[in-house]
Symmetry: C2
Subunit: 262 residues, 2 copies
Amino acid sequence: MEPRSRAARMSATAASCVHCPLADDCLPAAIGLRRATQLLARIGRRRLLRRGDVLFRAGAPGHDLHVLRAGAVKGFVFDDGVEHLTALYLPGDWIGTSAIRSPHAKSAAALETGVVCTIPWGRLERQARREPPVQRWLHDRISRALTRTGAHLALLQGPRDPEVRLIAFLLDLSARYHALGYSATEFRLPLSRAEIGAYLGLAEETVCRNLTALARRGWLDVAGRLVRMRDTAALRTFAPLDTRSPGAAMDAREDVRRNRRA
Amino acid sequence: MEPRSRAARMSATAASCVHCPLADDCLPAAIGLRRATQLLARIGRRRLLRRGDVLFRAGAPGHDLHVLRAGAVKGFVFDDGVEHLTALYLPGDWIGTSAIRSPHAKSAAALETGVVCTIPWGRLERQARREPPVQRWLHDRISRALTRTGAHLALLQGPRDPEVRLIAFLLDLSARYHALGYSATEFRLPLSRAEIGAYLGLAEETVCRNLTALARRGWLDVAGRLVRMRDTAALRTFAPLDTRSPGAAMDAREDVRRNRRA
DNA sequence: CGTAGGATTGAATAACGTCAACTGGAGTGG
DNA sequence: CCACTCCAGTTGACGTTATTCAATCCTACG
């Protein structure tokens, strides 16, 4: 149930890909384990994160890319004193992509203990120029970041139905954990109720109420931060645009209201 | 008041930067006008857009980058039959950045007649490997796209106060038009009321009502799609996180509620 | 064992969305 | 040249519902 944070206790600075569980979806997949380790040892750093640690603050220059290896990180901004979560990062995710060549637009802080690999953008860009696979890797992940943000945005635009938003959030989490090799049905929420609210554009109490409402209906079990999805099929019925099949579903719907020649 | 679409009537295919009014913020700024024109003639295409023309559809493979030269384009998805605008592109903007190396997550259609320059991603990436300035240009613009999306997202997360959202939308438009050399106080809305609603996560009627409410208060004048900002200072007071000064304002607010060591 | 902060529940308010009718201008065709 | 049509925009009344304010519970940790 609980993601075993296998890479939690490790040496503090030298970055190596050898024992990294994410290797097959990261740099080693692009240029091979041997070269990745060499390269990372030269230009990369590893850092241990504890809850609350700040990776960077909004407004700061974006020196480097962070790849989350273990744990969870939130991206957030403050608007008039209230926090908004603009992103939730899980192992394998890239953090700070919006600041390749501009100051950070948001801050990032660790939600729990974890590990990040850090690579200066300059070095990465240089390497990307030399090696097409590195460039592909780079653009591939940036592409993903943009897509994920877009999905989040679309969710926020829908009708403010808290149930739908929560379900979408949970299904997304489930899918991501599953992709990481964890259970898709039982997991621990990396966010507090208030943070979930800040992520979905809802009040904390609304999150609470609808979470218990979903439980009462038998869709899932909730106990504090522990979630057990009981009827994934039912949940999927209420989910908005399916993030897992980006193309098909949307195309079919597109023709309903089409902006024809004026 | 009305953006003079200077580059509207042009030959249909060969792309050249020579007479492009956006040259100094585009490829020519990176590698010089001469080389930019050469390069674009080789790998680029130009296309005339008419209202409703679709640049690409969600799910389609993302072959190439589009740089909007004149006109306005909307990025949108369909969720259960209702349209959501995920982006609004104005001259100078890059369209399709989320699909460098993945299928398009959203569709894009012209809102009015305009012109786009189109460059295949593959060619652009190859060139980016050879020429650092091109790479910088590429990453710079992608960075901007991510930042802009992030700002949009944060806006949608705030309290669902239609007034605030509308003001933020209008100020953003104003700033962008200003940056393009048009009037910052008088412009034509590229979106219908319904589309503004789809962009801000509000109902069409709500947009209407609050637009006239703002006018009644003397903040601005509205006549159909024509907008005249009368009291920009007052409007700015109600705006959420200021997009124009990404750093300062947010940093000051950040310390209010900080996630300290647990 | 005690406390602090997160989570939960309750009640009342305010406001956005919905349904529906109406207006006005632009474009079309007689 | 005028009447007609169509659709974007507007306004009104209503119901629903998420937020807000507040109090309480509970869980984790010291």
